[in-house]
């Protein structure tokens, strides 16, 4: 076992899958129904195929790049200034992601379970987990993902399996739902569910470069299966007219579980699942906020950044709640979110064209 900081492909894959799974726990199945109607389940199929294609292209381009992350590539392409611009752009993107998800998870938890607690109290609890994760570092959060994320996913699958008796095949009709055009438009908008590709390309130095292909495709495949299954379960349980209005879809599915007199209302298990998922999501994203910011500005110490950054994320989350705007469900914000896929692609294309791999290696030596 190597002692340098790093982790294996399983840890990286589970960490990334959780970033997609957080969407499922919050809004994804409902959004699919809103966009595609009864054919909403087709959108994740298309999204998965696009994501797989996207990754196939980027990984091909990565052959000329070596084990560098996006910041190293930016440094090689346009020097320190370009690296700082890209670094700050990614930092802002990740800070916004962390603050919006912090608010979303807190509000969800408040609605379904902690209705007597204030929103700020719930946010502070999430913030505590997020900050602790940052203190322990990327390696620790990836390692716990290796066993907590599978447990969380198994919990989710049990919920969906538990509602199989409630499945109504009629809900899938009409087969094309809102129409092919709507499905395609929806697929374009909600491709943002894979926006965390940016983290995959920041993670490359943490694992062997040879594992990039394995990690990336496993990430797309597992996430795709979860996205499709969650949407399908949701549509099969609720007719799409009803489903489109349902907030917190997994919780709503869980409410339909009924096994005899004893297991009547098991939906609180979804609280446990979504809390663990949220804490790992926020911990991972926040870890990369600190990592990217420190690396962008070549800071030797990153720990002193944790508390100030946490306060920024917390403040932004409070502000985003006051704006009363659905950041996760809105089409425009989802398109903006695609930056997480577009930015790495642009950098990697330029990097591959300039063959920065060899140059970069020289610089680092």
């Amino acid at each position: 076992m190597k002692n340098k900081i790093g982790f294996g492909s399983w840890e990286a894959t589970t960490l990334l899958v959780n970033l997609v799974f957080a969407n499922i726990m919050l809004v994804f199945p409902r959004d699919m129904v809103q966009l595609g109607g009864s054919a909403g389940w087709m959108i994740p199929v298309i999204i998965t195929l696009i994501a797989a294609g996207y990754f196939a292209i980027t990984v091909k381009l990565y052959n000329n790049i070596g084990s560098m992350d996006l910041l190293d590539i930016s440094d090689c392409i346009g020097g320190r200034i370009f690296k700082v611009i890209i670094g700050l752009l990614i930092t802002i993107f990740l800070i916004l992601t962390a603050s919006i998800y912090l608010g979303a998870f807190s509000q969800t938890l408040k609605i379904i379970s902690l209705d007597r607690s204030s929103l700020e109290y719930v946010e502070v609890l999430f913030l505590a987990g997020m900050t602790a994760a940052a203190y322990f570092g990327v390696e620790a959060i990836a390692r716990i993902s290796a066993f907590l994320v599978p447990a969380v996913i198994i919990g989710f699958l049990l919920i969906t399996v538990g509602v199989i008796p409630e499945f109504r095949m009629n809900n899938l009709f009409p087969v094309m739902g809102e129409g092919a055009l709507e499905i395609l438009k929806g697929s374009g908008v909600r491709l943002s569910v894979f926006a965390m590709f940016v983290i995959l390309f920041l993670m490359v130095p943490f694992f062997k470069k040879q594992l990039l292909k394995k990690v990336g495709f496993s990430y797309v495949l597992l996430s795709g299966i979860l996205l499709i299954w969650s949407t399908l379960s949701f549509i099969l349980v609720f007719p799409y007219e009803m489903a489109a209005d349902k907030k917190i879809p997994v919780f709503q599915i869980a409410r339909h579980m009924d096994f005899g007199n004893y297991i009547q209302r098991i939906e609180s298990i979804s609280v446990l699942i979504s809390s663990i998922c949220a804490l790992i999501f926020l911990g991972a994203v926040f870890n990369f906020v600190i990592y990217v910011f420190a690396k962008t500005l070549d800071l030797k110490q990153s720990k002193p950044l944790i508390l100030p950054m946490a306060i920024i994320v917390f403040s932004l989350s409070i502000i985003s709640k006051r704006v009363k705007f659905d950041f996760l469900g809105d089409s425009i914000t989802n398109i903006i979110w695609l930056l997480g896929m577009v930015l790495p692609l642009i950098i990697i294309i330029i990097g591959a064209a300039k063959k920065v791999g060899t140059e970069g290696t020289r610089r680092h030596k």
Partner: protein, 573 residues
């Protein structure tokens, strides 16, 4: 008369006799500069300097000097070092020996009670005092060599040329032999003292497996392990710990299995400990472990020789400290704390069943009270309606919120456990009965706690008894209180927060370079099969890859030769 005196005491004042009240005075500062600042033996020769030695101990620098040919000087050094004759168990015996028709002065020094007096008489004093008078045909001219080869028929004897080492030997039950004219002394290993025999394990009992446990004797303990392993490559490196106590310590490993850097690190850590005295391996563990503040232990402590032997065979390193019946094994990962020795000895289906029970027990011990509090305070909808009514009815007259009720009960349980351990054996069982009565019937009748709470605490207690490791059980007990508070603060969100932070803490900690959560986080890909569950014995082909052992294979792919067809064997031949 007596009656008169007694009555008179009430009428006639009599001053009370003053008792001698002891006052603990501050220690007088004795100037030992003269002793401290010198490393020369001249100090003992100077008559005027002798006064300087009163009240001062002889420093290590002086004792590191070479032993002198001058018998008087040797006597002075030893007597001053041990403060003889004030020090009553030190035996200092002077006598004469005859070597080559020449009479030489000699003396022996040993500690009464730690040495075998008969052996000293029969194999040291008698040959030196009596046999030396017999003419022996030997051409050896060197006196020391003659004494060593001809006059001391003792099996374990060595020549030592400095005072420090001879004193260390005497302190550990040896007998120091000084002979006039020699620049060295002899140290005979005559140690013997009252000790406990090999008994059955007390805290790690098994039904199937050896019934031997370590005792306080380092040599007995090393022998127990060697007896099991019977491997010529088993190495036992001796180290002494304690500036004053020089407590013997043995570092054990199998040289062609254990990782060299691991062995080096263990030896480095053990040798680097600077402390006056060390009494137990528990103390040593705290000096060696990576993280002091982590709740979980990072070094495995066991009283079972078979467990140590098993771990050594996997590539771990063991440390045995004299005087301690617990042996430390490192590195230790989470799996070691959840396994017992019996797991290897019982059949494959049984072990996996028992491990499932044990892991459930651990989860219950850690989480059940917290989850109960979370459900009753935040997620009541999870409780089936009939049960909810029953809980509500039982809690109707209890004045405390459920979290306070739980904390009271858990605290009482910890109190009983601690009291049960501290009181003498005969009363121990009474404490259990009294505790059970107080916690059970009386507390419920008095409406201090609800019956359901008793059930929860009792199941939690049962769960905690399934934890095989004593240290791990402590860790779970501490963390349980945190989960109760978290469950009461934010329900399942609090429990999740606790689980994530706890996992982060474990994931980031290491035991001698091996992550604590290995082989689960990081996930290891080797064929080592004794993780959470265990594969059949014949499938356990490899040693744990996370120990980076020299020889990963522990058995061939086909370990059961009889499964191969005889015709195949013949073909191979």
């Amino acid at each position: 008369m007596g009656l008169l005196n007694s009555v008179g005491r009430y009428f006639i004042y009599k001053e009370k006799e003053k008792k001698n009240n002891f006052i603990l005075k501050e220690s007088k500062k004795i100037s030992c500069e003269a002793v401290k600042n010198t490393a020369s033996l001249d100090l003992f020769d100077k008559a005027e300097a002798e006064g300087a030695l009163i009240g001062c101990t002889v420093g290590e620098d002086i004792l590191k000097n070479k032993i002198s040919k001058d018998m008087e000087l040797n006597k002075k050094v030893i007597k001053t070092a041990y403060d003889i004759p004030k020090n009553s168990d030190l035996i200092f015996r002077e006598f004469n020996i005859t070597v080559k028709e020449k009479t030489l002065k000699a003396f022996i020094v040993f500690i009464d009670g730690m040495t075998n007096g008969v052996a000293i008489c029969n194999f040291v004093l008698e040959p030196l005092m009596l046999l030396s008078n017999i003419e022996i045909k030997d051409n050896t001219k060197d006196v020391g060599q003659f004494v060593f080869e001809r006059l001391i028929p003792y099996n374990q004897i060595k020549k030592i040329d400095n005072y420090s080492e001879i004193i260390n030997n005497v302190n550990f039950g040896g007998c120091g032999i000084f002979v006039e004219g020699l620049e060295y002394a002899f140290a005979a290993d005559t140690k013997t003292w009252e000790h406990r025999g090999i008994e059955a394990p007390k805290s790690e009992t098994v039904i199937r497996g050896p019934q031997e446990a370590f005792n306080e004797q380092i040599r007995a303990n090393t022998a127990l392990i060697r007896k099991i392993l019977k491997d010529k490559d088993l190495m036992i490196q001796s180290v002494s710990i304690g500036e004053r106590s020089n407590t013997p310590c043995a570092v054990m490993y199998i040289r062609d299995i254990a990782n060299d850097s691991l062995v080096h690190e263990v030896l480095k850590r053990v040798k680097s400990i600077k402390v006056d005295y060390i009494f137990d391996s528990g103390e040593l563990e705290q000096f060696l472990e990576d993280s002091t503040f982590m709740a979980a232990p990072q070094i495995f402590a066991t009283e079972r020789p078979d467990k140590v032997a098993m771990m050594l065979s996997k590539g771990n390193v063991a440390v045995i400290l004299d005087g301690s019946p617990q042996v430390l094994v490192m590195p230790a990962t989470v799996t070691e704390f959840l396994h017992t020795t019996e797991d290897t000895n019982v059949r494959f289906p049984y072990v996996n069943f028992i491990r499932a029970i044990r892991i459930t027990g651990v989860a219950i011990a850690l989480l059940l009270p917290g989850i109960y509090i979370a459900i009753t305070n935040f997620h009541q909808e999870m409780i089936p309606t009939n049960l909810l009514f029953a809980i509500e009815a039982s809690r109707e007259n209890v004045p405390f919120p459920s979290v306070i009720e739980m904390l009271i009960m858990e605290f009482s349980f910890e109190l009983i456990r601690e009291a049960g351990l501290r009181v003498p054996g005969a009363i121990g069982s009474t404490i259990g009965i009294v505790g059970g009565l107080i916690l059970g019937q009386a507390a419920v009748t008095a409406n201090v706690v609800s019956p359901i709470m008793i059930i929860i605490v009792a199941i939690t207690a049962l769960g905690s008894f399934t934890v095989p490791s004593f240290s791990m059980s402590f860790s779970i007990r501490i963390m349980r209180f945190l989960y109760i508070i978290l469950g009461a603060s934010a329900g399942f969100l609090g429990i999740s927060l606790g689980l994530v932070i706890n996992s982060l803490l474990f994931a980031s900690s290491k035991s001698f370079g091996v992550p604590f959560l290995t082989p689960f986080a990081p996930v290891t890909k080797g064929k080592y099969s004794d993780k959470l569950t265990r594969k059949p014995m014949w499938k356990q082909e490899e040693r744990p890859e996370y120990l980076n052992v020299k020889d990963v294979k522990s058995q061939p792919k086909v370990s059961r030769g009889w499964t191969v067809k005889d015709s195949d064997k013949e073909d191979d031949e």
